[in-house]
Symmetry: C2
Subunit: 288 residues, 2 copies
Amino acid sequence: MPSSPDLYAFVRGELVPLTHAYLHVSDLAIQRGYGVFDYFRIHETQPLFVEDHLDRFYESARLMQLDVPMSREALRETVLELAQRNNLELSGIKLLLTGGYSTDGYTPVPEQASLVMIQQPLTMVEQSVVDRGIRIMSHEYVREVARAKTINYTMGIRLLQRLRELGLDDVLYHQQGVVSEFPRSNFFIVRQDNTVVTPAQDMLFGITRKKVLQLASQQYPVEEGVVTLHDVWQAKEAFLTNTTKRLLPVVELDGQPIGTGKPGEVTLSLLAAFQELEQAALAKASVV
Amino acid sequence: MPSSPDLYAFVRGELVPLTHAYLHVSDLAIQRGYGVFDYFRIHETQPLFVEDHLDRFYESARLMQLDVPMSREALRETVLELAQRNNLELSGIKLLLTGGYSTDGYTPVPEQASLVMIQQPLTMVEQSVVDRGIRIMSHEYVREVARAKTINYTMGIRLLQRLRELGLDDVLYHQQGVVSEFPRSNFFIVRQDNTVVTPAQDMLFGITRKKVLQLASQQYPVEEGVVTLHDVWQAKEAFLTNTTKRLLPVVELDGQPIGTGKPGEVTLSLLAAFQELEQAALAKASVV
């Protein structure tokens, strides 16, 4: 993160310059990859859907038996303080909670948990990527403790090289043909009858996923359930959702086109509806 | 690690006081739990079985597509320099290689990999623990990329609380009843006919495991293959192996005794043979 020398971060109780944001090597993130996080957008100084993200952050911590060493109110205040200090036009804040400094390098010491907040400028996906959609491959894998947003990205990062070699954009996890999620995104298909379907097992409950389900249910039949690789190839459309990409059309899986092989109408109408929802949420927040 | 203020560590190219051994929060260990490590004992300034550990460290790095940013010779030299600087009676050195400082918090930048070495005093298992053996439970789980010694201990650390509640010493991983390993140790059984058997799938190739297999084959039939939970309860003896515990008798699994429920003869004879091997290896090294 060398490009932003003037940014501040929050590390174990203190606002410090990001260039001085360090953790001791005894931290259980470094020793044992043990931690959880969450990530949300900041428009100027306004966080987007922050209550949803705080809900999930506390839930991830609970699932990993970690205590957030700060009340929800204090956490929200610190986020706002950091956002005001950094004052970026468009950015993301990452909340990170690790097992913390450990004397034996294995056992978490509750009062030594490391709470970190990092804010970085963010560039949203370019329109040309939305226009053309992305091409993906499948890979058999289920994330450990999939309901928690842990820092474990062993498989996702290991697969980067294969994606580069194949010239593909992302990898969709499945188990015995039943699809779950991408390393950092949720997955949806639109069936031929316009039913919007998303997996409900072995995946993280994405915030964008939740909003899209709400929006879709106003216009289309909606299902949370089993999606197989076969279902994907039979679908009319497919797309992914996450905080930085909103909705992104998926037009090819394992070399076979999905639907017409082009971004679909339902996907694009939901993307437009999501952008309206975003604007409404930000306008509402700015009034308060 | 607050108890050893005078110790030195090696962090990204420099020997520094352990109290100043920090990594920037952009490191992929902190961001994404991405890294590998190895760990070996140091007797005064002599590393034990260091070539085996270096072999495995480079193999773990390769499996995780990381490059060790130092030749094997330079790495060995740095280990010896650190051991001489710290000059502890009995200790362990941890070699750690992470995905390193990343500009986007996800993609490894090869020239930014973080190589870290930490040395800490070590206390071996007390004789009373060997005399009474340990009690364990089973848990269905397979480590990701089990052949690599990654820093991902999500499951092992998450299970610590249950072990504490049940008053047990460790957890043995299995998949559909086929046993693999402990979070930090290998597993052996001794059948009624004195055959020494250890799992060969979904586990890390432990250095102590390798030495014990060599020693056992001089006295007993030896097998690397499938071990089921049922086999464990039918066994005459069971034990675990790792670098800090050598061989430790396992006398109970999921509330049922193994064999007589006491440490067995074959286990204790192999432990004695292993201690002799250790002494010989250290004596040989001190002559060089």
